[in-house]
């Protein structure tokens, strides 16, 4: 299990990095935290000609909070989010999801942008980004562009990223006040990729849901927002024990709508069932955190 040969480049400026990526085209691969790419190299299931190590790029490790948005650079590690007071205090969904990413040593190296770029449907960050109406900041030698999370994800391990492009940052929108959030996932062991999970945001006023976000983790081809559930919940009274039936209905919608793949460990039916359970649990917790007794 030794990596194959590649041309290793460690540019010191973004312009250099983008130039190398442009020249490499399809054969270029960005190396950030390496926690997904390095195993693939060691197993020789990835064989890029050019490896562009972006760890020497300046200013990419910043977490910037500004007027209800959070912007993080390409070299922000999972552990950096956990160590950020701003994230811990004001971005509870992002924080809670990040605590469930792998294990400490992986969180120390792995980057949030890397996770989003890799777009494993079972990973936490693509779903968090979708739930927080996030945007992917993309750069290439030809310029910069932004894509909403939903448009960035194009399927299992594939994104809208073109050859020559790299993700340089992510931007999240803070939910309104009185929002409760929850990120729940189910894996065989803590830290494993989830079989299914859910991210939920509920904005409540006087027991009525003003705004809802629900994203299912581990399904189909990437993070799955469930607009039917979001529409169902919006405007509904969820206080005073009313939530129970509504959330059950939400779970049924999730089960009916998600594209649950079977894999070596679980059937499609089990994953679908679990998606419903995770959705319900995420909504229940989010509701409690919004200050409403379920």
């Amino acid at each position: 299990m030794k990596a194959p040969w590649f041309d290793y480049q460690a540019p010191r400026s973004l312009a250099d990095a983008l130039g190398i990526l442009r020249d490499a085209g399809e054969e270029g691969r960005v190396l950030a935290g390496g926690q997904s790419l390095m195993p693939m190299l060691n197993m020789r299931v990835a064989d890029p000609e050019v490896l562009v190590d972006i760890n020497r790029l300046p200013d990419m490790d910043r977490i910037e909070e500004d007027d209800g948005t959070l912007r993080i650079g390409a070299l922000v590690r999972h552990a950096d989010l956990l160590n950020s007071a701003a994230v811990r205090e004001r971005w509870p969904l992002l924080y809670e999801a990040t605590t469930q990413v792998a294990h400490p040593a992986i969180r120390n190296r792995g980057t949030v942008c890397g996770s989003v770029s890799h777009n494993d449907p079972s990973a936490e960050h693509p779903s968090v980004l979708a739930t927080l109406d996030g945007t992917v900041l993309i750069a290439s030698a030809d310029g910069q562009r932004e894509l909403p999370a939903e448009e960035f994800s194009e399927g299992m391990l594939t994104t809208a990223l073109e050859p020559g492009e790299m993700v340089v940052g992510l931007r999240y929108e803070r939910p309104p006040a009185r929002t409760g959030s929850a990120f729940v996932e189910f894996a065989r062991r803590l830290g494993d990729f989830a079989i299914a999970g859910a991210a939920a945001l509920l904005t409540m006023k006087d027991g009525v849901c003003e705004r809802a976000r629900l994203t299912i983790v581990g399904m189909g081809d990437g993070p799955v927002r469930v607009p039917e559930v979001e529409d169902l919940l919006t405007g509904k009274t969820l206080g005073n024990g009313a939530a129970c039936d509504v959330f059950e209905e939400a779970a049924q919608i999730v089960k009916a709508s998600v594209d649950a793949a079977e894999d070596v460990h679980v059937s499609s039916g089990y994953r679908r069932h679990l998606a419903g359970v995770m959705a319900k649990r995420a909504l229940e917790t989010a509701l409690v955190r919004a200050g409403v007794a379920a």
Binding site: P4, R188, K255, V264, V266, S267, Y270, H273
Partner: protein, 787 residues
């Protein structure tokens, strides 16, 4: 837990801190991969991508031309030069399998070695492997035992009809009458997945050749250095005296490193061929397919009971998927024969019948792994006892009480012809129940269930035959009766003691255990005793470490050798001190007379014995080196009772182990903290077997779980805190010791399985297939998963 710092007057029974762990804390363990020589080459293997295929052509020309590549070896290159493997003949064999070190003409499992590439470094060897072109002609694949034994099924080996590498029908007692007259007959099926040992360190070797004496030295991550030496010499056509096998610090064995595999033998051949040291280190992807697997059984078990719930007879049909080859040297009989034969466990079984097969399939061969065959034997019967108890309206603990073999019945010969003696099954059960507060647990079970949770309580009792002597075969049906091991005790010229034995440790602290026994037997201070355990160049003959035998054999041989060494020491001291022998004692490395007025240190005596021999009558100076063989003749039964409490999440199927109480009889304890580590470690692997670990293949024989992300073993969060209690009954072996390395995994699978089944039964559910994955749990509860 016992107090780890407890110090008895005697070394045996104290948790002596193990010196041999010290280098491991400094990164100085010198494992196989840490051993290097100047000019050493590195080896990698090209492995079959097909489960069953003819090899039309293997083109190595591009690989040979890669700079840095020294040699590429194919199966054809070895034909006629070395002798392929044929497993030990088994009395119950339905046919033989021949395994070439590198595949010739045909490959029979994904992972089978086809070529060996020798290069200047491992990465280059792997580059070269990608350049080898193999033209496969796929053959029909056998992917399961029931399908494999059909008359119409293709054969994995032309020499083996119905792919039955093993087939045995056993009947003893009036089995038909037992079932005809039974008050109750319960029939149940059970299956357990394929799994593997998952030693954190894979296999590997460094082989070095030189002309002249001791031509081949091989360092090998292995449990049986002397056995390896015998077979390397045989297969390479070398005098055994020219081969030295050293097992360095070994990163886990668990039986996986107790078999003989092709790769190390290829390396030995390459070292001779190239006259350069060569190293092969098995990486994880190789380890998942090239090192033996275990388990994968289907069992149909039927038991007849009288109206009191007493077992009248047991009948079983057993299918084991043993993989593509009969494992060298154990044969394919390990799991199929032991599961059948050991089904009765600690219970009185007057009549027994089993019909067991080991069926060849196109998967990795299976071999010995911790508690071969017993966990599934035990779990299938324990689950059946629970079902019988429900039908008879008995508590699960009560039906076990009624069937356990009692001490006042011992020696007791059971229907499997094994004699139970010196073992306390009931004391284990009583202690586990008392410590767990069993009555209260049962009383609180209903209240603890609800709100999406089901509480289950499992009780499991097991027997584990350890330290097998010459009268019991360790590989059933084979001639493998490794019942004699030797230890050499040598008082060095400075008065310190060396213990030498070929009993390598993979963390069991064998050296510390033998030092403790020797200290008590000889009166030599612990710090004056050291121990060599892993080098055929230095140790006397021994079979090695497996089958919960090493502490029993090592300690027994130490006791025997010490008796003679002590006699010689006292005789010489009596002469030197001019005191009668019977008035002398050895305490803390000093020989004293009764009132302590005369003293002689061992260092003084040893020096005089060696350097001033002319002053000593020859008959009193026979040398302080004694080798003794020990054979315990029979095995010693160890035992345990485990009580496990689980909560099952009825929405997700997740299982949480809420409490785990174990009471174990492992005989007289040598080092309690070490023993506890063995038992708890076994339980952890049992947690994996019961809940997590599963090697999955598709129907084309492709392995789907080849990384540690897919093959899931327990982390610190899945293994609960174990409440461990000792209910020890000394064995009949020297010192009263029993083995303790394997038994607890039996109780863990059975205890957890029973707890899960007990939980599901609260809602009319049950579970028959393990590991108890969340999905299997929900299906066991009848949850509609839409299919």
């Amino acid at each position: 837990m016992s107090d780890l710092r407890l110090t008895n007057e005697k070394a045996v029974g104290s948790s002596v801190l193990p010196d041999e762990a010290r280098p491991l804390l400094d990164g100085e363990g010198r494992f196989l991969n840490d051993i290097s020589f100047a000019g050493m080459y590195h080896v990698a293997f090209l492995r079959s991508q097909h489960a069953h295929a003819l090899l039309r052509e293997v083109d190595v020309s591009r690989a040979k031309d890669l700079p840095g590549v020294i040699r590429v070896l194919t199966g054809a290159d070895l034909l006629g030069k070395v002798e392929p493997f044929r497993a030990m003949p088994n009395r119950f064999s339905g046919g033989e399998s021949t395994q070439h070190w590198l595949a010739v003409e045909k490959v029979r499992f994904v992972g089978e070695a086809i070529c060996a590439v020798v290069a200047e470094d491992r990465a280059t060897a792997e580059d070269a492997i990608e350049l080898i072109e193999v033209d496969y002609d796929p053959l029909p694949v056998i992917s399961g035992p029931r399908e494999g034994e059909k008359d119409t099924s293709p054969l994995v080996h032309d020499t083996c009809a119905n792919n039955n590498l093993i087939k045995r029908k056993y009947v003893r007692g009036e089995i038909d009458e037992a079932f005809a007259t039974a008050h109750l007959v319960v029939k149940r099926d059970f299956s357990i997945a394929r799994k593997q040992a998952l030693c954190l360190e894979g296999r590997g070797c460094v082989a070095a050749w030189r002309e002249g004496g001791f031509q081949l030295s091989i360092w090998m991550s292995h449990q049986l250095p002397y056995v390896v030496r015998h077979y390397i010499a045989k297969h390479l056509g070398l005098p055994e005296t020219d081969v030295r096998v050293i097992a360095p610090q070994t990163g886990g064995g668990f039986g996986q490193k107790a078999s003989i595999y092709p790769e190390e033998f290829v390396c030995a051949h390459l070292a001779r061929l190239l006259r350069r040291p060569v190293k092969w280190v098995e990486d994880r992807l190789e380890n998942m397919v090239a090192s033996t697997h275990a388990r994968e059984q289907e069992i149909e078990l039927e038991a007849a009971f009288d109206e009191d719930g007493r077992i009248l007879g047991l009948r079983s049909e057993i299918w084991v998927d043993v993989g593509a080859y009969s494992t060298y040297l154990w044969s394919a009989g390990m799991e199929p024969l032991q599961t059948g034969g050991l089904m009765p466990g600690p219970y009185r079984v007057p009549a027994l019948q089993y019909n067991t097969r080991g069926v060849a399939t196109n998967k990795t061969p299976t071999g010995p792994y911790r508690a071969v065959g017993r966990p599934s034997a035990s779990a299938s019967l324990e689950l059946l006892l629970n079902e019988a108890a429900r039908k008879l309206d008995l508590d699960p603990a009560e039906i076990r009480r009624r069937n356990l073999i009692l001490q006042d019945e011992m020696p007791f010969r059971n229907a499997n012809n094994l004699i139970h003696e010196h073992v306390g099954y009931m004391p284990c059960l009583r202690m586990a129940m008392a410590e767990a507060g069993y009555e209260d647990l049962r009383a609180g079970q209903a209240a603890a269930s609800g709100n999406g949770k089901l509480r289950g309580i499992g009780v499991a009792c097991f027997a584990e035959l350890t330290g097998l002597g010459t009268t019991t075969a360790v590989g059933p049906g084979t001639l493998l009766q490794p019942g004699r091991d030797a230890v050499t005790l040598r008082l060095e010229t400075s008065g310190v003691l060396t213990i030498a034995a070929a009993l390598p440790s993979q963390g069991q602290r064998i050296a510390t255990a033998m030092r403790q026994v020797a200290a008590d037997e000889l009166g030599i201070a612990l710090e004056d005793i050291s121990c060599l355990t892993s080098d055929t160049g230095m140790a006397p003959y021994g079979f090695g470490t497996f089958a919960s035998r090493t502490a029993v054999f090592g300690s027994g041989a130490v006791i025997q050798a010490a008796s003679e060494l002590r006699r010689r020491m006292i005789a010489l001291a009596a002469f030197l001190l001019e005191e009668p022998e019977k008035e002398l004692s050895i305490i803390n490395s000093v020989i004293k007379n009764l009132d302590g007025s005369k003293m002689l240190t061992l260092s003084d005596m040893a020096e005089r014995s060696f350097f001033s021999a002319k002053d000593i009558p020859q008959e009193l100076n026979q040398g302080f080196e004694v080798t003794a063989f020990y054979d315990p003749k029979h095995g010693s039964f160890a035992a345990g009772a485990h009580i496990v409490v689980v909560d099952v999440d009825t929405e997700t199927g997740a299982i949480e182990i809420v409490r785990y109480v174990a009471a174990e009889d492992v005989g007289r304890l040598i080092n309690p903290a070490v023993v506890e580590g063995q038992i708890i470690g076994g339980i952890a692997q049992g947690v994996g077997e019961a809940l997590l670990e599963e090697l999955i293949y598709d129907d084309q024989g492709q392995p789907l779980t080849v990384t540690l992300a897919d093959y899931i073993v327990p982390s610190a969060l899945e293994v609960p805190n174990i409440e461990l209690h000792h209910a020890n009954t000394p064995s009949g072996a020297l010192g009263g010791f029993k083995g303790c390395g394997e038994g607890s995994i039996i109780g863990a699978l059975s205890g957890i399985a029973c707890a899960v089944s007990d939980a599901l039964a609260r809602r009319g559910g049950d579970i028959h297939a393990f590991p108890a994955t969340p999905e299997r749990v929900l299906r066991g509860l009848g949850v509609d998963l839409g299919d």
